[in-house]
Symmetry: C2
Subunit: 496 residues, 2 copies
């Protein structure tokens, strides 16, 4: 892409003055519309060192009210951050609806400059580029506007700018050995940038390469691009409101290998275990899990355990039997309730990305991201298109956890309708358990058939070979606890 750019493009000061103030005012008033329409906006700045990223960002951001805009300076990842999943540190800082996040360097440093300097192998780099395309597609599909700038200058121009900085007492500290090295190896970096730009130049998040020899010219081009991007996104949002996409009923869960799952109605629930056998096995399995917890801690393997299941299926008790075997310094139970206001304003996976375990740690999710294809589907908290698209997004998310090295174990705790009624009544009639039963539980119960259909879909479309579902028959709670422990232990052992 870079060869097509006319680096000589420039304008006079007069031309700049004629246009600039109107554009600035337009940017200011567009931000109000961004807020009103709750549009989340990401503006990425990448480019050569000394191409003027800093001053262009400074110019741009002054047009925005700080209530709703923020600059993120993304430097190379620390050693601790390198131990997190790919893109984790960027998921954390995506904006909410109505906010503008300006990225001073971004996820692109890992597949360009750092790719060369950390000597990243080609397969890893390809995976990272694919992860980025997935990341941006997931954001764009969920209503994010992504505007990406690459500030381009020639090798000669860069050298001159470095020399200017180095020759002034006030700025010489800003020029490092690495800057000179990068300038000398301009061709090598050029090829890496070019590959990056081409591979990640998508319809949903296209690149804008900005000729940055002349700063005034670059500034106006940036303003025009941002204005155009926001206007188009707002128009599209309005259009979608008036013309919602017709549900297709075609679910595309992505190009993965799936493990066949039975329909819920075909699952036999008569499995039991004697009290004696339960006690003995529980103790043995907990000791085994406890030892494995030590091992994954030392080998730095992250473990993500997902609990889903019918209301009153026994998630809490099942989780407690797993937790009892674990050192509290190395695990956390993450209870998932309805999203808070800031969570609702973000991409729906944001609140899960930000609660992943550290490597060597275990996170037990009590309810999960599968709410998207169950309660949100059934209650209409998202559009049909949203939940239909979610199967693929979730599979991609779990794949990224797998690629990171995580063990992902997913349980569906299953009981039948009669058993649920018995347990609901028991809760209702036992004072110390009454807090556990709410009107919502009874309402959900009335929608059993709808849920059953949604759950069958979920099991069918998201049981991948790297993160398969396990149905835990919990009519007999003790049987269910033993089964879950065994599966978790086997999954960890497999990974070790």
């Amino acid at each position: 892409m870079l060869e097509k750019v006319n680096l000589k493009a420039s304008i006079t000061k007069e031309e700049y003055k004629k246009e600039a103030s109107a554009l600035k005012e337009e940017l200011s008033s567009l931000q109000q519309l961004v807020k009103q329409n709750k549009l989340p906006v990401i503006i990425v700045f990448e480019g050569w060192g000394s191409a003027g990223k800093g001053s262009q960002i400074a110019n741009l951001i002054l047009n925005f009210d700080p209530r709703g805009s923020k600059v993120y300076s993304n430097i190379a990842p620390t050693e601790l951050e390198k131990r997190e999943p790919n893109l984790w540190r960027y998921w954390k800082i995506i904006p909410g609806g109505g906010e503008i996040a300006v990225m001073d360097r971004s996820w692109y440093q890992e597949i360009s400059v750092l790719r060369l300097e950390d000597e990243v192998d080609d397969v890893t780099n390809l995976r990272r580029m694919n992860d980025i395309n997935t990341f941006e597609r997931q954001l764009a599909d969920n209503g994010y506007l992504i505007i990406k700038f690459f500030l381009h200058i020639s090798q000669k121009e860069q050298r001159e700018r470095l020399e200017n900085l180095a020759n002034s007492k006030n700025t010489e500290w800003r020029v490092t050995q690495q800057d000179w090295k990068r300038n000398k190896q301009y061709d090598r970096y050029y090829r890496a940038f070019d590959e990056m730009l081409e591979y990640t130049n998508t319809t949903y998040a296209p690149w804008h390469v900005i000729a940055s020899t002349d700063r005034l010219h670059a500034e106006l081009e940036i303003y025009h691009t941002v204005i155009d991007g926001i206007k188009t996104a707002l128009a599209l949002k309005q259009h979608r409101k008036e013309h919602p996409i017709t549900p297709t009923n075609i679910i595309l869960p992505g190009n993965f290998t799936f493990v066949p799952m039975p329909k819920l109605k075909d699952v036999s629930l008569d499995k039991t275990i004697t009290d004696e056998k339960y006690k003995k096995q529980l103790k043995k399995l907990q000791e085994e899990l406890s030892e494995l917890h030590n091992k994954i801690y030392r080998r730095r393997v992250p473990v993500v355990v997902c609990y889903e299941g019918w209301d009153a299926a026994g998630k809490g008790g099942n989780i407690r039997r797993v937790a009892a075997a674990l050192d509290p310094r190395g695990y956390e139970v993450v209870p998932i309730a309805g999203p808070t206001a800031p969570e609702l304003a973000h991409h729906y996976l944001w609140r899960f990305w930000t609660r992943l375990p550290k490597d060597g740690h275990i996170a037990i999710f009590d309810r999960t991201w599968y709410g998207r294809v169950m309660v949100e589907r059934i209650e209409g908290f998202c559009t049909t298109e949203d939940w239909q698209r979610a199967y693929r997004e979730i599979n991609e998310f779990e794949r990224q956890l797998y690629d990171w090295g995580a063990v992902v174990v997913k349980f569906w705790l299953h009981i039948d309708q009669d058993e649920q009624l018995r347990r609901f009544n028991d809760r209702q009639n036992t004072p110390s358990k009454q807090w556990k039963i709410t009107d919502e539980d009874w309402r959900n119960r009335e929608k059993w058939d709808q849920y059953e259909e949604a759950i069958d879909d979920m099991l069918h479309y998201t049981s991948t070979d790297f993160a398969p579902w396990h149905i835990i028959e919990s009519q007999n709670k003790k049987y269910g606890r033993i089964k879950a422990l065994k599966i978790l232990i086997d999954a960890i052992k497999d990974r070790l």
Copy 2:
């Protein structure tokens, strides 16, 4: 304190069994009351290595529903964390109302184990101990329950436990050279622990030293203490609801040196500047600030700029003139609006602690923690006792910023009532400015006199020698911008 503990205390397995299950059930149901009453609870675990912190925490936490309880494992601070203000990393993780935070090690490691191992000088250590007492008092005064355990064992007991761990293949990795060293120097650590326990044993956050030779005995004592602590705190909360503390009208802003401030009515507002002079000075001052920004970045000096002022006094425009001189990679404007639900559930200073700048960076607060003694005072969002206490709490907070090395600059942007009316009308009548004026602005205007009294109090009680207030006459906005820039520049220069 340690010498008073009977390390031989023990119970039989039968005695344990007789008591344990009732205590566990009580803990579980107390958590429901903690939630209902929105009581924030902090339980600290400190003690000797191998004294059993891990397993006691594991036992305790199993009694709690993870929805509302969490274990924080606090290891030694990283290099990056050491560059933050003292206690910053602990402020970040204080619980909200209704939550139980269990601290596996805490702020006490810095004044005990790490004090010896990092060879912290006595003056620094004394300051840290005082900071901790202040921290806990501020939490307790704002309704937090703090329960602190120190798990105590003898040198011999510790050595035997280390030997047991080292002799088993599965656990030998857990015993480090440092553990042996600490055991050998038991007396040295004993003295440091003892000093820590005595100095920080306060009425609002007393220590509970637990004889931990016998684990079952320790477990029950911990349960009893937690139950007793929560019950007392709930009763006290109820009592306060029924018998609120009578306002004393005695404000105790703490033992600091204060800079005398004029009353607002005595501030002359007729200062102006010509357009020509403004343009020239603005350019010169912005260039100067820009260079200073480089210097503080290199010298790692954090800068906290606080903007308060009447509605329509020109905060936004003033801030923009400062920001225009700064590299966006090194500053952030932090707009403060009404608190969100999670912010309301925490100590009122929490949302400011978590938004402090990194060292070498500038944070410009557009409105600040002074809301406590202005809008919250006037609108009754906190009790009279709360805002009267806040002057001292705020002074202590700013002192901690100063001790960290920060430049703290506070501006009050001042205009008179007539000028405000002119500006309000102008906003109302200019379509592009209408979003800037709300009904609330008009309502606040009606309370001008109440605000004036509150502001005079604020200026009087919180203008310390380390963080003095500056009144910025903003009747003429340009004059105000130049004055603010000059003060900021001088403050940074003084610090460098």
